[in-house]
């Protein structure tokens, strides 16, 4: 075995002979060299190395007996170890039991049947049978639309004509001179005004009706029933 070289900081300020002798001391203490190796020339002339050699001999010869264990320690250790082993086995069993109970509980929770609560059976009334209405016909829808349009038109006409009637005094309050000198009699009476207005608006409603009829004819639905005015 090669002696371990000295640390650089330790050997820098020491002579090479001292460093070499220290390696010898270590080799002797390691058992690689016999104690006779300490009897070299160098320590004879070096006081410090001579002291090191003496200290090494002291260390080698010192009665460094191992302390003996107290009586009963082994028995105590075995008893404690057995208790520890039993306690660990118990803890392991408890742990396994806990784990098993957790698994069983979880499985029972997951696999439980769905909760069925007793319910009162309520007799529901028989469903009302609603007779199916016949599907709406497009021609009827257009007839309705035409009637609605006609009604709107008539209402507009009435709202226009009726206010003008207030302007017409009652016939009994009007004293018509039989003959006024210089004035020709009126060609038409004011009482004929509503009829004149009606005849003026009539073309509008007639045109509307005609347009609807034309449209129905174009889409091939024929002439709807003539709405009642």
């Amino acid at each position: 075995m090669t002696p371990v070289p000295l640390q650089p900081d330790e050997s820098l300020d020491r002579p090479a002979g001292c460093a070499a002798f220290e390696a010898v001391v270590n080799a002797v203490l390691d058992g690689e060299l016999g104690p006779d190796a300490l009897e070299s020339d160098h320590p004879a002339g070096c006081r410090e190395c001579r002291a090191s050699a003496t200290a090494a001999r002291q260390l080698l010869g010192a009665p460094l007996a191992l302390p003996t264990p107290p009586h009963g320690l082994a028995e105590r250790i075995v008893i404690t170890a057995m208790r520890d082993r039993r306690a660990r086995q118990r803890r392991r069993l408890v742990g396994l039991a806990l784990a098993a109970s957790v698994v069983v509980g979880t499985a029972a929770f997951l696999l439980r049947p769905s909760p069925v609560e007793p319910r009162e059976i309520v007799q529901l009334p028989p469903p009302l049978v609603v007779p199916e209405a016949p599907p709406p016909r497009v021609s009827d829808r257009f007839a309705e639309a035409g009637s609605a349009l006609l009604a709107i038109t008539n209402r507009a006409k009435d709202q226009t004509v009726n206010p003008t009637r207030t302007l017409i005094p009652p016939p009994e309050s009007i004293s018509v001179p039989t003959a006024l000198p210089g004035i020709e009699p009126a060609a038409e009476s004011l009482a004929e005004m509503p009829e004149a207005l009606r005849s003026g608006i009539e073309p509008v409603t007639a045109k509307t009706r005609r347009a609807v009829n034309l449209f129905l004819r174009d889409v091939g639905l024929g002439t709807p029933a003539k709405p009642k005015l």
């Binding site: 001579r50 260390l59 010869g61 320690l73 520890d84």
Partner: protein
């Protein structure tokens, strides 16, 4: 199957006789190591007990290829380090360098032994571990490396530094005169 394998197998089955055999086989070394590393006998007893509890709990992790002794001693060294670390964090009112009164103490056989032990107690923990394992337990470098979990080179360095301190302490105390005592015959270390 080696003897260690058989012993470990029986211990793992909880056989009390096997557990006792294992304790009796390693207890002297473990206890002696603990006494030297924690420097207190009562603490060493507690640490020794902890070591064997840890050994029995960890038998399943023992590598059957390796010898059992360094593995057990490695656990002992680790428990001692833990104990010392705990003791540093919690200062004790007693002086651990003195034995507890009323206990049959193993008084050092001589002033030289006392000086060596005092110097060893002053060493850094890692130096003390390798010094005690080498000079008191007679373990080889390779075994010590396995115990402390460091390379052989590191173990050599630590041991040589520890030795240098111990030798210097012996010289400082005047226990290593220039003229050696011829009666102190050197004995080579016994390596097992």
């Amino acid at each position: 199957m080696s003897a260690d394998d058989d012993l470990v197998r029986r211990c793992r089955h909880g056989r009390p006789d096997a557990m006792r055999e294992l304790v009796e086989r390693f207890q002297p070394e473990v206890y002696a190591l603990c006494v030297r590393l924690v420097s207190h006998r009562h603490d060493a007893e507690d640490v020794t007990q902890e070591v064997f509890l840890r050994v029995f709990r960890s038998l399943g992790r023992w590598d059957g290829v390796r010898p059992l002794r360094p593995w057990v001693l490695g656990i002992a060294v680790n428990r001692c380090r833990t104990w010392l670390g705990r003791r540093r964090r919690i200062p004790e009112p007693v002086d651990y360098l003195h034995e507890v009164a009323g206990r049959p103490s193993e008084a050092p056989a001589s002033e030289l032994t006392a000086a060596i032990r005092s110097a060893v107690d002053d060493l850094r923990p890692e130096y003390r571990e390798v010094f005690v394992l080498f000079h008191e337990h007679g373990r080889s470098y390779e075994e010590i490396a396995g115990v402390v979990g460091r390379p052989v080179g590191t173990v050599k360095t630590w041991l040589h530094r520890g030795r240098a301190h111990v030798l210097a302490e012996l010289r400082r105390r005047g226990l290593a005169p220039d003229d050696p005592d011829p009666a102190a015959a050197p004995r080579p270390a016994n390596r097992s």
